[in-house]
Amino acid sequence: MSAINLLEESIVEKTAGESESIPSQTFPDEVILDIDNVSISYSGNPAVKHVSFPIAKNRITSIIGPSGCGKSTLLRSINRMNDFIDGVTVDGNFIYAGHNVYSSRIDPVEVRRNIGMVFQKPNPFPKTIYKNISWGPQINGFTGSMDELVEKSLRQAALWDEVRDRLHESALGLSGGQQQRLCIARALAMEPDILLMDEPCSALDPISTSHIEDLLFDLKSRYTIVIVTHNMQQAARISDYTAFLEMGDLIEFGITDQLFTRPNQKRTEEYVTGRFG
């Protein structure tokens, strides 16, 4: 059963008699990745339970919810970064490019080449700015002009002007906000299909944050973005779709505007307005 059907079903179920703020009968965008009845547990302790929702191509989807509700767990499992944690079990399907990402015929390295990730804490390699960008393409056999690719990626991440004169200096000399944009540029250099971001602005000041938000907006035309955030305003400002999780359950998924202004679920409303007030 696909997530789209589930979405419709759950909406029908949950909204009987409530407002008409429902996405139309059919999902309005092309689905690039379908999260289908996914449950994830750590050594038997469930962290995500029967979650289904689609990720729309060339859109920003945000995942919100209280601390510990399973946002990072869900995000990490999309590109199999959960493989490195002992005791994780994943049930259900992540349908991407016609395959379940967890099928035994799938090469997780290939999955990660196409689904990039930016982490909560900036984690540049202790190498030069240039090598931070060129590293990924290089190991993946990139043959074009590396200089051009580095410049393009840095421009896309709105970092080029600040670092153009110090490309061969250590990336660790950059500020936290610059490091985070470098990590975004590093992910973009791989030209990923989907970009996963786990609270990319949580360690940043408001100015760097708004830089990155502008950036995400620009990137939307070329990439699909899934972002975890604790910042309600941010989710409302930048995302097209929002998924609200609570204690591992998907409480509500929908078009961001509707979810924030006319949520179907009381818990969504409480959470969303609680943070606003």
Binding site: N79, M81, R113, N140, L172, M190
Partner: protein
């Protein structure tokens, strides 16, 4: 905004009510006692080092009054105890180098590989077994390694390598290599494990394989610690005494192969110290000249290692 102002207000009220005095009013004798006794201990080790250097220098100078430095550093024959005597240190230096290079050739690849395995691939269970074993290996007295070489390694090698003498550099180099392997493995493992996981995850997220993550992110990031482990192991190999004396013998030799008996600088020092060479003579002074040279070599190695450490140090938060 208002809240914060009110809080500051309350704070200053409290300050006025409670008289605050931050002047120095008492001497902390306990602190003073501890500090001065720690300082004293440090002084003892500095003093000892100073005395050793002084004696080495004094006796070496006495030696160089009788033997020209040129003959010592560039002579190719070391026959200090018999007539006609000659005092060219090169054979001893060469013996030490042969052992050190051989040991490093064996221990650096093996040690680094073990460290990579331990830190990147082994399960926690495996680590819990292997690490203590390595540490025990590092704690075995070196004379035991010497007998191990003589009674086990050499006979085994003689079956495989034709023309191998009973005392030979090969066997010495192998046991010294085995001896310094735990140093490299445990220190490099520590260095690799200190590399933050976030770097590994960043690399995996770019579609890297485990091998790429290990060789192109983790090892470079931990390189300063890895290099330090190499240098420490090498200086142990240079200073190693009992194992090489037992395994490689006491024949000063400029041989290019590992098959013959050689003598290292340390082995020579043992030979003279344990023999009945009378104090004060020139033969006795050779001891200090050789020890002084050993000291200078180790010192240079330490300085170089400090320099490499500072050059390669990659800081990560």
């Amino acid at each position: 905004m208002q809240m914060r102002e009110m809080e500051t207000l309350k704070h200053s009220d409290v300050n006025q009510a409670k008289k605050i005095d931050i002047r120095k009013t008492r001497v902390r004798w306990g602190e003073f006692l501890i500090e001065s006794s720690l300082g004293l201990c440090a002084m003892i080790s500095i003093f000892t080092t100073g005395v050793i250097i002084f004696i080495l220098a004094q006796e070496s100078l006495g030696f160089f009054e009788a033997v020209s430095p040129f003959d010592f550093f560039f002579g190719t024959s070391w026959v200090p105890l018999f007539e006609p005597s000659s005092y060219g240190v090169l054979p001893l230096l060469w013996g030490t180098m042969l052992i050190t290079i051989g040991a490093a050739l064996f221990a650096i690849p093996t040690g680094l590989a073990s460290a990579i395995y331990l830190s990147e691939y082994a399960s926690p269970r495996m680590r819990a077994v292997v690490k203590p074993v390595l540490e025990v290996l590092a704690g075995i007295p070196t004379v035991v390694y010497g007998y191990f070489a003589l009674t086990f390694v050499t006979p085994l090698l003689r079956k495989m390598v034709p023309g191998l003498e009973v005392f030979n550099a090969l066997s010495g180099a192998i046991v010294v290599g085995v001896m310094i392997l735990p140093t490299i493995a445990t220190l490099s493992d520590n260095a690799l494990r200190a590399v933050p996981d976030s770097l590994r995850q960043g690399a995996y997220a770019l579609g890297a394989t485990s091998l790429e993550v290990t060789t192109r992110v983790v090892v470079p990031a931990g390189l300063s610690g890895v290099m330090a482990s190499f240098l420490l192991a090498i200086s142990r190999a240079i200073g190693e005494t009992m194992a090489v004396t037992l395994a490689a013998g006491a024949t000063p030799n400029l041989s290019l192969t590992f098959l013959e008996s050689i003598q290292t600088m340390t082995a020579y020092i043992v030979q003279v110290s344990m023999g009945d060479t009378p104090a004060g003579g020139i033969a006795y002074q050779t001891l200090f000249a050789v020890a002084g040279l050993l000291f200078v070599i180790t010192l240079i190695l330490n300085i170089v290692s400090q320099w490499i450490l500072s050059k390669f140090r990659e800081v990560y938060e």
